[in-house]
């Protein structure tokens, strides 16, 4: 193989005039983090709501939760992003569709919301499993004390369920970060997108993607470490994994 390695490329100016190639990658990283953060907030909030609905005694709530989860987890993420980005504006009334297409930062919002909904289905299933793993008597004890269903979830069931699902939830958080790379297909210049631009401008494909790989690894290492601390911080003395 005839390849000219050039690790100095990162410090050469990029053709867009936005500084060096490294600056380009870092701006991509910043966008990856922003997209992932918003997507994770959406996934946690909607996923928690849907997960709770799936454990409620109401048939209607169960059905909605079931339909929601199956809709968002049974389609490839890529297809979902295309649906939101290319198809949805065409399905809306003309005015609304045009407004949507002309939104500034449309790829960013589409990616954050699309990845967020996709991941929320997974959060929902995990939370449901966490709640179901609690002894049935816990809910009964809360009810018997006079707590309403909402209070029972807020003060008794959810604090335990979230502790139990914290380790798998860490994986979902990492998946959220990694899944934002799919947004390259709708034109979002996140980390993967910037690495690709760098390769196209400079032909230094190995350097570009090595750097992207290292940046992804670093970010996820930070997240894993932070979640470890969180796990230890919320651990219950004397209880399974407690201190």
């Amino acid at each position: 193989m005839n390849y000219n390695w050039n690790w100095g490329i990162f410090f050469q100016p990029n053709p867009m005039g936005t500084g060096t190639y490294l600056d380009m990658l870092l701006s991509g990283l910043a966008l990856t983090l922003k997209t992932a953060a918003l997507a994770w907030v959406i996934a946690l909030i909607t996923g928690s709501l849907v997960g709770v609905m799936r454990t409620l005694p109401s048939k209607g709530a169960n059905w909605f939760g079931f339909a929601y989860v199956e809709f968002f987890r049974n389609m490839p993420l890529l297809v979902q992003l295309f649906l939101w980005f290319f198809v949805l504006p065409e399905l809306l009334p003309k005015g609304a569709g045009t407004w949507l297409k002309q939104l500034p930062n449309a790829p960013f919002w589409t990616a954050a919301i699309g990845v967020g909904f996709f991941m929320s289905a997974r959060v929902a299933v995990q939370l449901q499993a966490g709640i179901s793993s609690l002894p049935r008597g816990q809910k009964m004890a809360a009810t018997a004390l006079g707590l309403t269903t909402a209070q029972g979830y807020r003060y008794v069931l959810l604090p335990m369920a979230f502790r139990i699902i914290l380790p798998p939830l860490t994986s979902e958080f990492l998946n959220t970060i990694k899944n934002t790379a799919v947004a390259i297909t709708i034109g979002l210049l996140e980390l993967t997108g910037q690495a690709r631009s760098m390769q196209e401008f400079s032909f230094q494909v190995f350097e570009a993607f090595t750097a992207a790989t290292i940046l992804y690894l670093l970010v996820n290492a930070v997240v894993v470490t932070a979640m470890r601390f969180l796990e230890r911080w919320v651990a219950i003395p004397g209880y399974i994994t407690g201190k």
Binding site: M140, A141, L145
Partner: protein
């Protein structure tokens, strides 16, 4: 205080769990419910505070109809203390916070007042030193005493016990029964599902014997243990008293 009349509960036409159960518990009375496993005694006691629904009949607690859709169940339940076989303390809350949660969220007591009440009750069950520990750091007997204190913190008008000593190691049974005996002697209205015939002999006013979802015998304590009675009750007693 508790009036149970003609209560029927079934899961399907062929699976009847309670058949025409009628009895009552008057103020200050201690009623022990016993019977072989699967006889419906736990189900019956859970119907009293509507933790289990039933299909026909009526239950009144202090004049309030439990099975009336208009009844404010959380409010009613907050006045009916319940102690479970598996304690059901909330594992993520300190002992004192287990006692305060419902006082604050259901009764609207201030934090200081709830704490004071909680400490007073912990002292009463001999666990004042454990207030800052978590449930998993206590023995089974201690946990069950905390559970009793938690129920008492709501100033209940009646206490329900669902096999409170069945999950305990033998050497811890007496510490829980002692608390219950004290409670009975102070005039608390109690309905107790238990196999502890010693407890029944000591403090019960009446004993109810259930078998296959029916109340077979409902007699004053001395009659139940002394005079001739139904075959089934006799067989049951000979089995559990033979050791």
């Amino acid at each position: 205080m508790i009036e149970i009349s003609h209560v029927n509960k079934w899961y399907s036409p062929t699976f009847q769990v309670l058949t025409d159960c009628t009895t009552n518990v008057t103020k200050g009375e201690v009623v022990v419910v016993c019977g072989p496993s699967g006889s419906g005694k736990s189900t019956l006691i859970k119907c009293v505070n509507a933790l289990e629904p039933f299909q026909s009949g009526d239950i009144l607690v202090d004049g309030t109809k439990v099975n009336d859709p208009k009844t404010n169940l959380p409010k009613l339940r907050s006045r009916v203390g319940m102690v479970f076989q598996h304690f059901e303390l909330f594992p993520h809350l300190k002992i004192i916070d287990n006692l305060c949660l419902a006082q604050e969220k259901v009764l609207g007591r201030g934090h200081d007042k709830a704490q004071a009440k909680g400490m007073q009750l912990l002292e009463r069950v001999g666990l004042k030193e454990q207030a800052q520990k978590f449930p998993a750091q206590l023995s089974g007997g201690q946990q069950q005493r905390v559970a009793i204190a938690r129920a008492l913190a709501m100033d209940p008008i009646v206490m329900l016990f669902d096999e409170p000593t069945s999950a305990l190691d033998p050497e811890m049974v007496s510490e829980v029964l002692d608390v219950m005996v004290d409670l009975a002697r102070e005039g608390m209205t109690m309905m107790v599902v238990t196999h502890e015939m010693g407890f029944a002999r000591k403090v019960a006013n009446r004993v109810i014997f259930m078998d296959r979802g029916e109340i077979v015998e409902d007699a004053a304590k001395d009659d139940f243990f002394g005079k001739p009675r139904s075959d089934r009750a006799q067989k049951f007693l000979s089995k559990i008293l033979s050791h």
